[in-house]
Structure formats: structure tokens, C-alpha cells
């Protein structure tokens, strides 16, 4: 498992290559890369700055990887999140998951991203033509994370 918070860019190919290097038990690696967009809520974004809570960030990322490990049989997980000032097109976040079969790798990768969006203490501030603005949390991110809630067992009729 690799968890990193860093200002510098990352190399998707190198990170994925490092996961499978020297081992032959991995049958699937899925990866997700989130990029900085140039448009958000109708205005052009010239740049964004990502702030985080050092200490809690690493702890929160480790906790959500641990939760993914409890739900699926995973062989390796890499999570890299950048902080600092980023320009449109720059990669922000990488999640890569290795497993024996694709189903677990696909599901766990999406799960980690959905949980990261609502639980990891990062905040984006955008620079637009109208000035700087903090990005508001989205209800759709809460809904995406809620899909993964443990199944509820309904009580039957008495």
C-alpha cells in the first residue's frame, strides 16, 4: 500500500508499473486519475490551490484504503493526492488498485474515490476571472459515497 500527499506531479505508468513489478499473482490493475478542469459552475478556472490538513489527511486516506481492504480481496493499493497550486489539465489525484480479478479492482477503485471525495480533508480554491472562490461540497458526492453504505437488513413482518 502506498499513500502519498505531495506537491509534485505523478507518473501513472510508473506507479502502476511499480505495483506489479516482480510479482505474478496480480490479474488486474484499475486506475483513476482526476484532473484539474478549466470550467466549473459556469466560469473559467485559471488555476486552483489545494489545501489539506497534514496528519489527518494521511490518516483519513489510510482509513479508507483499510476499509476497501476489508470489503474486497486486494493485492495492492496506491493513492497519491497533490496539494498546492495546480493549472487546468494538471493531474490532482491517482488511485490504483491491484487484485486477482477485475471486478474487485474496478469496485474498490471507485469506492476509494467516492470516500476520498467526502472524507479526506482537502479543500479546493479556484482562481477565476471574477476572483478567488472556495469550491463548495457537492450533494452528488455525498450521494455517491452513500451508495457504498453497508447493506441494511430490513426487519420482516412480526
Amino acid at each position: 500500500m502506498k499513500i502519498r500527499v505531495q506537491t509534485q506531479a505523478f507518473d501513472l505508468g510508473a506507479e502502476v508499473g511499480a505495483m506489479s513489478k516482480g510479482r505474478t499473482d496480480i490479474g488486474a490493475i484499475t486506475s483513476f486519475v482526476g484532473l484539474a478542469r478549466d470550467l466549473n459552475e459556469g466560469s473559467g478556472v485559471r488555476a486552483m490551490t489545494l489545501e489539506h490538513y497534514p496528519g489527518m489527511t494521511e490518516k483519513a486516506l489510510a482509513a479508507l484504503v483499510e476499509e476497501a481492504n476489508a470489503r474486497w480481496t486486494l493485492l495492492d493499493v496506491t493513492v497519491i493526492h497533490r496539494v498546492g497550486r495546480l493549472l487546468p489539465g494538471d493531474p490532482i489525484v491517482l488511485v490504483a488498485v491491484a487484485s486477482q480479478h477485475r471486478g474487485e479492482a474496478f469496485a474498490a477503485c471507485e469506492f476509494i474515490m467516492d470516500y476520498l471525495k467526502t472524507r479526506a480533508p482537502f479543500w479546493k480554491k479556484e482562481e477565476t476571472a471574477e476572483g478567488e472562490r472556495w469550491v463548495d461540497a457537492r450533494a452528488s458526492d455525498d450521494a455517491a459515497a452513500a451508495r457504498w453504505a453497508p447493506p441494511r437488513f430490513e426487519t420482516g413482518p412480526d
Partner: protein, 83 residues
């Protein structure tokens, strides 16, 4: 008891500080929020009922009825927007 209180993102800017050490006579996160609201101005506005903010105690997000241990690191911040 003494608490170390941290503020992040929009709240850090509005409050004009990243952290402070506070004397706290209450017991819960809700009581700390009430103490901060009583400062008035931005504090009252940003921490008003119905405003979206999160509280973490020793780096875990908690509900407002959580008890605060002495010397706790308490962080107050807006809903997260990473990824």
C-alpha cells in the same frame, strides 16, 4: 482544560487565523462551537446553526455531541472538496 483549535480553508480565512490555544470549561464539541459563536461577527455567522462545517477531534471527524479530551487537537473546517 486546554485545547488546540485549528481552522482550515474558508474558515481559516474568515476567522483570520490558522490555529489558537483555548481555555475551555465545557465538555462537548457543541459547547466549544457555542463558545466560538459568542465572539460574534464572522464567528457567529460561520458557525451558526444550519451552516455546513465539520469538527474533527484528534484528527477524526466527530458528531457535535462528542466529548473533548484535555489537550485535544480540535479542527473546524468546511465540508471537504478534494479529489
Amino acid at each position: 482544560m486546554k485545547l488546540r483549535v485549528l481552522y482550515f480553508a474558508r474558515l481559516r480565512e474568515r476567522f483570520g487565523m490558522a490555529e489558537e490555544t483555548l481555555d475551555f470549561a465545557g465538555a462537548t464539541a457543541a459547547e466549544l462551537i457555542a463558545q466560538l459563536q459568542a465572539r460574534g461577527g464572522m464567528w457567529a455567522e460561520e458557525l451558526a446553526a444550519g451552516r455546513a462545517f465539520r469538527v474533527a477531534v484528534n484528527q477524526d471527524i466527530v458528531a457535535l455531541d462528542a466529548a473533548l479530551p484535555d489537550q485535544a487537537e480540535v479542527a473546524i473546517f468546511p465540508p471537504v472538496t478534494g479529489g
